[in-house]
């Protein structure tokens, strides 16, 4: 399948900023199941040239803007050819040590409830256990926009029983790690289908390691493994570690951030894009 994506992030400053620094992970890697075509990233209409692999192998670029900046507009857009690999995410050019993905962070550290929750996932082998865990996350944490914040931890999410994709992914990686399974938080784009949670923002899901198969992508929010409707941008230990855009600003007071994602299936031979509306 060929997907067209336009991902736009806007930073607005109440007073002009004297210095803006941006760390961008907006370059989808070429993997077995996804090949970016004509992908381009611009910041205030200037192309961002060099993305270098970070420690996890995801492309990373740094942009520095000086002199009074009132607005920053980051656009990542292009076409990505995807293939359904039944959830298996493979073809990474660089693989770090797996046990790193057992590290819990401030956002994922399990409390007793999360640990118990993790152990309540049945299954005969690791793969079936992970499927069970993904289903459990979806059962126990209902989708409810606005019910959590970016600072919500996995333990808080489980206790509260409501959340969004970020919270599902946090709870999933937290529980998987508690079971000794390397797991990571992933950010990317999802082309929604009927019945899915359609998105105007980036989507988050998780990857867990299964010996013999490698990394498997679990989207607990939608109760499935990743398909050719998914475009993977970057991963990390938690949402903070895997943020596709990080910014640091000097000399400005109030910041408003808007993100907008448009994704659709490309018509054969045309670079036209469809806009998904919820």
């Amino acid at each position: 399948m060929e997907l067209t994506v336009r991902h736009q992030t806007t930073y607005c400053y109440e007073t002009p900023a004297s210095q803006v620094a941006l760390l961008l992970r907006l370059q989808p890697a070429a993997l077995d199941g996804q090949v970016p075509r004509q992908w381009a990233v611009t910041v205030n209409d200037t192309p961002v040239q060099t993305f270098r692999p970070n420690a996890y192998g995801d492309g990373e670029a740094f942009v520095h803007l000086r002199a009074s900046v009132e607005e920053v507009l980051i656009v990542a857009s292009g076409r990505v050819e995807t293939r359904d690999q039944h959830g298996v995410v493979s073809g990474f050019r660089q693989e770090g040590p797996l046990p790193v993905f057992l590290r819990q962070t401030h956002l994922t550290r399990p409390d007793a409830a999360v640990t118990a929750f993790a152990h309540s996932a049945g299954g005969t082998d690791r793969l079936s256990r992970l499927h069970a865990l993904s289903a459990l996350v979806r059962d126990r944490v209902g989708y409810c926009a606005g019910s959590t914040s970016t600072a919500s931890t996995a333990a808080e999410v489980l206790a509260q029983g409501r959340g969004v994709c970020q919270d599902h992914a946090h709870l999933f990686v937290s529980a998987a790690r508690a079971l000794g399974i390397p797991a990571r938080y992933v950010v990317g784009y999802l082309m929604a289908q009927a019945g899915d949670r359609a998105l105007r923002e980036t989507h988050a899901w998780a990857e867990a390691w299964v010996d013999g198969l490698g990394w498997i992508g679990f989207d607990a929010t939608n109760g499935i493994c990743v398909t050719d409707h998914y475009v993977r941008l970057c991963g990390g230990l938690d949402a903070h570690d895997a943020a596709p855009v990080r910014g640091s600003v000097l000399g400005a007071t109030t910041i408003a951030i808007r993100a907008d994602v448009m994704i659709g299936e490309a018509e054969p031979g045309a670079a036209q894009q469809t806009q998904q509306q919820q």
Partner: protein, 469 residues
């Protein structure tokens, strides 16, 4: 039995202390006290103030200086020198390995979790090759002595060990006040340290640097307890002392803001903790730091000394495995031994420690500065019980060691020369080669019988002599 470094067992003076002894007798106790006041006045005027190991407290406090030098013979030093270099080399080899193939873990010599679950391990560093594969460019090794031939390593400092300014200033003061002591050329000089440090830092310039490298020293600012040392070293090396606000990153290079515009920086000797280096890479809530610094580092545009994540090697839980590292990476037997250490994180270790806590020295794995430490034999039973409760609550956070019979060195007491416990911190420089000046920082516990040499808890410093022959 406590070993007195000045005396043979029969009470006669050890030959390396002959000159010091002659000088003490010649000057007399009253004379020495008079000179001590002078020395203190000089220290205060120059403004040498700070707490050594980031101990907190008044940042402008003076550390007591003791006039009587601590002396090592040439033979003793040669052994120390070899042992220190060996350790510094192994620690750097371990760091490279830990962030790459982790052969030592595959060989089963160090438990995986101790590395990958370690707070000091920086996942961001995985797979990156720092210039020259050096992570810790200045290795400070804390050494204690328990006998004529027994030197043991108390801990390693691989991040940004401080205290070297004392080594230099103590010698400077002694030379200024007692030129006669040095005129015979008995003592090996230490004053080439800044030049060697600069040479070392230039050797690890990044790939993007095609000229004589521009080196800067990055300090958190003048409120930092070691600020004096930062400005002192920058001055002696003739390099800029910069704060995070002076730097910015553009085009994968680091620039400093000067009165004539931006100027590229190649090597940063940073005296800032990993957490505060770059708010985009590490702690996002940090107001300090240079956004994008870590990205420029990975892109080969700048070298950070020490490398982020170098602290993994000086973790107190990793310490236990340093002798294994020396055997594994260098194929040698360790020249300096470790102190036997029980890890409360292991079942057997915890059981032993809780049973013998009253005889042991217990420490927090991530603590420093002598705080959060229990000296069993000198603690009340209530204190021991309270500490035991802390260990039980978080066993992995603690280690324990036997109480050592630390050697003593001559120290100026009120009416006589007295013997006080001391430790020693040499500074090994690691660039494309290793360099070590013959000396270091001797810290002394000024209270009789005390084993705590930290300046925040009654410790002082003194000049350290390595004899030429």
């Amino acid at each position: 039995m406590t070993f007195s470094e000045m005396h043979e067992q029969d009470g006669t003076i050890r030959s390396c202390y002959a000159e010091v002894k002659r000088w003490i007798d010649e000057t007399g106790i009253d004379g020495l006290h008079g000179r001590m006041d002078e020395a203190e006045a000089i220290f205060r005027r120059i403004g040498i103030t700070f707490a050594v190991y980031g101990e907190g407290g008044d940042p402008e406090r003076l550390i007591p200086f003791d006039l009587l030098p601590r002396v090592f013979s040439r033979l003793e030093w040669e052994r120390l020198d070899k042992g220190i270099r060996q350790r510094a080399q192994a620690l750097n080899a371990f760091l490279y390995d830990a962030y790459h193939r982790a052969e030592i873990l595959r060989a089963g010599l160090i438990p995986q979790d101790l590395v990958y679950q370690n707070e000091a391990f920086r996942p961001e560093m995985i797979g990156f090759d720092p210039p020259g594969r050096v992570y810790s460019h200045i290795v400070g090794i804390d050494i204690v002595r328990t006998g004529p031939d027994q030197f043991e390593v108390l801990e390693d400092n691989c991040r940004t060990p401080s205290g070297v300014s004392y080594m230099l200033e103590n010698r400077e003061i002694m030379t200024r006040m007692f030129p006669g002591l040095f005129s015979k050329g008995l003592v090996t000089p230490v004053d080439d340290y800044p030049a060697l440090l600069l040479k070392t830092l230039k050797e690890v310039a990044p790939p993007a640097c095609k000229r004589d490298p521009v080196v800067v020293l990055l300090t958190p600012g003048s409120l930092n307890s070691a600020y004096y040392e930062h400005s002192f070293l920058a001055d002696l090396m003739g390099i800029e002392l910069v704060e995070p606000v002076d730097l910015f990153v553009d085009n994968d290079r680091v620039w400093m803001k000067t009165t004539t515009g931006p100027r590229a920086v190649d090597v940063i000797y940073r005296r800032i903790d990993d957490d505060y280096l770059d708010p985009l890479a590490f702690r996002p809530d940090s107001l300090l730091g240079v956004p994008g610094l870590f990205h420029a580092y990975r892109a080969g545009g700048v070298t950070l000394c020490s490398a982020p994540g170098a602290g993994l090697a000086d973790d107190k839980a990793i310490y236990v495995y340093v002798p294994e590292m020396i055997r594994f990476y260098l194929g040698e037997e360790p020249i300096l031994s470790n102190i036997p250490t029980w890890q409360c994180g292991t079942e057997s270790g915890l059981a032993y420690v809780l049973e013998h806590l009253g005889e042991l020295v217990a420490k927090e794995v991530h603590g420093s500065g002598g705080y959060g430490m229990l000296i069993g034999p000198q603690a009340t039973s209530e204190a021991v019980a309270a500490y035991a409760a802390r260990i039980r609550a978080n066993p992995g956070g603690f280690i324990a060691q036997p109480t050592l019979a630390l050697s003593t060195v001559p120290t100026l007491g009120e009416s006589a020369v007295v013997q006080r416990h001391a430790d020693f911190r040499p500074f090994c420089l690691v660039g494309s080669q290793m360099r070590l000046v013959a000396g270091g920082l001797t810290r002394v516990a000024l209270t009789e019988g005390s084993l705590v040499v930290n300046s925040s808890q009654g410790g002082g410093v003194k000049d350290t002599w390595v004899l030429r022959n």
